[in-house]
Amino acid sequence: MLILYNIEFEFIDMEYRVVAFREKIAWLTLVSMAAAYTLYFGLVLAGHPAGRAMAPMLWLFGSIALAQVIVVVAGTTLFAIRTPKEGRARADERDRSIDGRSTRIAYYILMTGMIVVGVIMPFADSGVRLVNAALLTLVLAETARHLVILLSYRRGWHG
């Protein structure tokens, strides 16, 4: 009986090491977002016209954002097909608690960024630079949100 008990414990640990559906989505979103917007802001910093004119900015940002959304939707669909039960499961109290925590932290980053973009930057900058700064704030807030989600699932969160 003791042997069975130990096997069960091992099995429990193995179960936990399987990455949960919502954690996979958070990883997918975080990695795709990091890749997409590192490319976008890298090009802007390297002198791409998206850093100076509205039309190239809209075209480049729109293309990259659309590509990232397609990757996330395709990945989510694939994960849902591979683990249909988890894909259909509604968020439980732990998922909601983690989501609330991550959104709260992202909100403060977004508010700080928007104060800089909307209140401080207009004294020195205008046009596309303001828009790009606002987009950077959005990306940073979303990145922080997904990092907090991943850390909360990995290391635990007591609500």
Binding site: Y5, I12, E15, Y16, D92, D95, R155, G156, G159
Partner: protein, 71 residues
């Protein structure tokens, strides 16, 4: 992440209840398998409602499932 000031015997109770899996217990309680695993490992403190539901499934009082270990 600090451990909560209480421990639980969910693993043992699952084993004694016909080797119930985390997924089965999660389905009965209304949470995911991962949430049951997180509670067992002290990585998540369940709400009072979920704690009572777990105890009720095992037919035990709350203090037989969760034990205060803090000061």
């Amino acid at each position: 992440m600090a451990k909560p000031p209480f421990t639980n015997d969910i693993r043992t109770l699952r084993f004694l209840s016909g080797e119930m899996t985390q997924g089965e217990l999660g389905d009965l309680v209304g949470v995911t398998r991962q949430t049951i695993a997180a509670i067992e490992q002290g990585k998540y403190s369940p709400s009072l409602e979920v704690a009572f539901r777990i105890a009720r499934i095992f037919g035990k009082p709350l203090e037989a499932v969760f034990q205060w270990s803090g000061e």
